[in-house]
Amino acid sequence: MEKKVVVLPCSGIGKAFGEIGRQAVYELVEDLRPDDVTTTCLGRLMIDDPEAKALVQDKIVITIDGCTQDCARKTVESSGKKVECALRVIEAIKKNRGLKPEGILELGEPGFKLVHILAQRLNEEVDRVMRKGQ
């Protein structure tokens, strides 16, 4: 069955939020919704890779950004595609004040709790956009 949704994290390397978003997308794509959701490299959109552009054009796009620069959303939009839903990692963190990642790439247990929470949030958004797309 063809996957309907592509989710793109910013994968920012300067802050833990980038890694949290990236890991949440992997959890979504590999564990929670392997039949419905895929991802691709943001860099491929930056170089106008035809395959990556076609993937994004054909599918419903959700982006997950680590900070207010909104790199994932802006990169998708610069490729000519409107993002159906643009989330920020900080939304998950704001509601879970006691959890803080231990490092920028080595998130530790509390960081991975945030990853799970964010993955569930993304899962809900996938349901919503797929229902809307029907």
């Binding site: 994968s11 920012g12 990236r22 992997y26 490299c41 930056m46 170089i47 620069q69 790199c71 990169t75």
Partner: protein, 144 residues
């Protein structure tokens, strides 16, 4: 209108490391870990990292930095997203690494997971990080 004051004449005492962070393949994850190792442990005084998509999404800070300062791009595969984007949107990098080719040259297996790196995968991280660090030294030596 703003008055611009730069600290002093620009000295090439920093190298920008620009990993591709490719999400699709394990080598993309390697570019992240290797770049952070250089930034945090191997050459903390000599390097900064730049999030690649900030060339599109950010203000002029990142683009200007990569135009003025030397950069090293670290790509996971031969699509060379970091190298090509840096060339197109900012300035030609001083050096470009392709992780898949580097690992092949060293006879090192590519990690199996893009989510987590095993202890064995750390060897791959170390090899890439050393390559970046050595190139940082060369670049700063040339520019001093």
């Amino acid at each position: 209108m703003s008055e611009e004051i730069t600290l002093e004449e620009i000295k090439y005492d920093k190298v920008g490391i620009i990993p591709c962070n490719g999400e699709e393949i394990c080598e993309g994850t390697l570019t992240r870990h290797a770049s952070r190792k250089v930034l945090d442990k191997l050459r903390p005084q000599d390097t900064v990292t730049i999030c690649l998509p900030l060339f599109i999404a950010g203000d002029e800070g990142e683009r200007n930095f990569a135009k003025i300062f030397p950069t090293i791009t670290v790509d996971g595969c031969n699509k060379r997203c970091s190298q090509l984007s840096t060339e197109r949107l900012s300035g030609k990098p001083s050096y470009s690494i392709i992780v898949s080719e580097l690992l092949k040259a060293h006879g090192i297996e590519v990690p199996q997971s893009r989510r987590t790196l095993t202890e064995k995968d750390q060897i791959a991280v170390d090899v890439v990080a050393e390559e970046i660090a050595n190139k940082v030294d060369e670049i700063l030596e040339e520019n001093s």
